[in-house]
């Protein structure tokens, strides 16, 4: 299930102002990256472009293995982007988890099974039939992670996943992301400051003045159970 992402000569401009110009960026299977940078440096835009949700002004993002759908040349089914504040669909928690599964055309029984796994994974079992809009901020973030996890993504982009969360929620979100990494997914986390989630990352990237520089590369030995 290895997914590899390669970006070349990405340029994003707003009018005359150039937000960034990135010569090369590579994300490999099992990578965990922390993208830091000041607010407004373009972290969100860069991650959305990498995830295929936004268009660069020039340059290209290539994801292998190629699984282009006829609907979009940019979006890749193995690549998922998560907003800083997740958008939760109206309906129950379980319905939110089933959203992406239904799109894959799975049988109802399979969907049910996977949803209950995801509920257990994110420790949301008791809230399964609650309206998702009634969840707290931390629960919503966990739901969003589970909603992505259930699709077994190869690469996740997490935009400031711990902003606006209390300490306890930060810890549980970090636990979930750790579990994802253990599962073999590659993760890129953006954050302008260090926190338990960025601690999980061994590649350190800095987006500043339109350039991405890699300044730390500490291989963390992962214990696969």
């Amino acid at each position: 299930m290895g997914v590899e992402l390669r970006a070349n000569n990405l340029i994003k401009r707003y009018g005359a102002r150039e937000l960034f110009n990135i010569e090369e960026l590579k994300v490999q299977e099992g990578d965990s990256l922390h993208l830091s940078g000041d607010n407004g440096a373009g972290k969100t835009t860069l991650m959305k472009i990498l995830a295929g949700l936004d268009k660069p002004c020039s340059g290209e993002v290539a994801v292998t293995p190629n699984m282009k759908s006829k609907w979009s040349t940019r979006l890749h089914p193995k690549v998922v982007y998560l907003h800083q504040t997740p958008y939760i669909f109206s309906g129950t928690v379980a319905a939110n988890l089933a959203y992406g599964l239904k799109l894959k055309g799975l049988a109802n029984k399979q969907i049910k099974e996977k949803v209950s796994h995801a509920l257990a994974w994110a420790r949301l079992e008791e809230l399964a039939d609650h309206s998702a809009h009634s969840l707290s901020g931390g629960e919503k973030q966990r739901l969003a992670l589970a909603r992505a996890w259930v699709l077994a993504p190869g690469l996740l982009f997490l935009d400031e996943p711990t902003a606006n969360l209390d300490q306890q929620s930060v810890t549980s979100v970090a636990d979930l992301i750790d579990k994802m990494l253990e599962g073999g997914a590659a993760v890129m986390v953006s954050s302008h400051q260090k926190n338990p989630v960025t601690e999980l990352c061994y590649r350190q990237l800095l987006l500043s003045e339109g350039q991405v520089t890699e300044f730390g590369h500490q291989r963390k030995v992962r214990h696969h159970a």
């Binding site: 295929g52 979009s72 979006l75 958008y87 109206s90 799109l103 699709l151």
Partner: protein, 233 residues
Amino acid sequence: MQENLLETSILSLELLFSFDAELWDIIGVSFRVSMIAISIATLPAILIGFALAMVDFKGRWMVVALFNALMAVPTVVVGLTLYLLLSRSGPFGDLHLLFTQPAMIIGQVALAFPLLVCMSHSAFQSIDKRAWETARTLGANCCYAVITIMKEARFALLASVLAGFGRIISEVGCSMMIGGNIMSYTRNIPTAIALETSKGMFAQGIALGLVLLILALLLNFTLASIRGKGQLV
């Protein structure tokens, strides 16, 4: 034979609840025509509203302003325009549509359309762009993402459909002009009220007015209760 409001109202209730054939015939025409019109107009109008809210293209503000302006066009002007188009000497005269139910439906579609576009546009505008991105990144194709957004905006969209229906079922100018108020065929509630009033037969006018009033109350109560629930979910 002194007529007063009370007597007329009682008479009108008698007409309504004795199921006066002519009266219910008129009500039937009204609902049939307006229901068909709203069901034709809704989907394309909502899609346009969606495109205006979500797709960035040159001159978008002009299209939005255009639909807003069209919304304010008096119904008689819409009626007159269609009259000229459908008249035997007009460009579509060969279709022989003037003074038929299809002509009324065309007129009501034309009236409901800009309202539906504008209201669904603002309904979609109130939906976060993140909803679209979340749907897409979770694997929804464009088509399904649109459906997802519509689901998220369903209360506001329903409100716009109800408002559109309210506008066309109570509209008199256009129906009178291009429908012709033909009994049992193109006579609907508003044109019948206009006629009965001009004849000085107020009881039937009031009975029909009551139907419209009850309908308006029902629509608005439905809307209010849906909105109320919408806030909780």
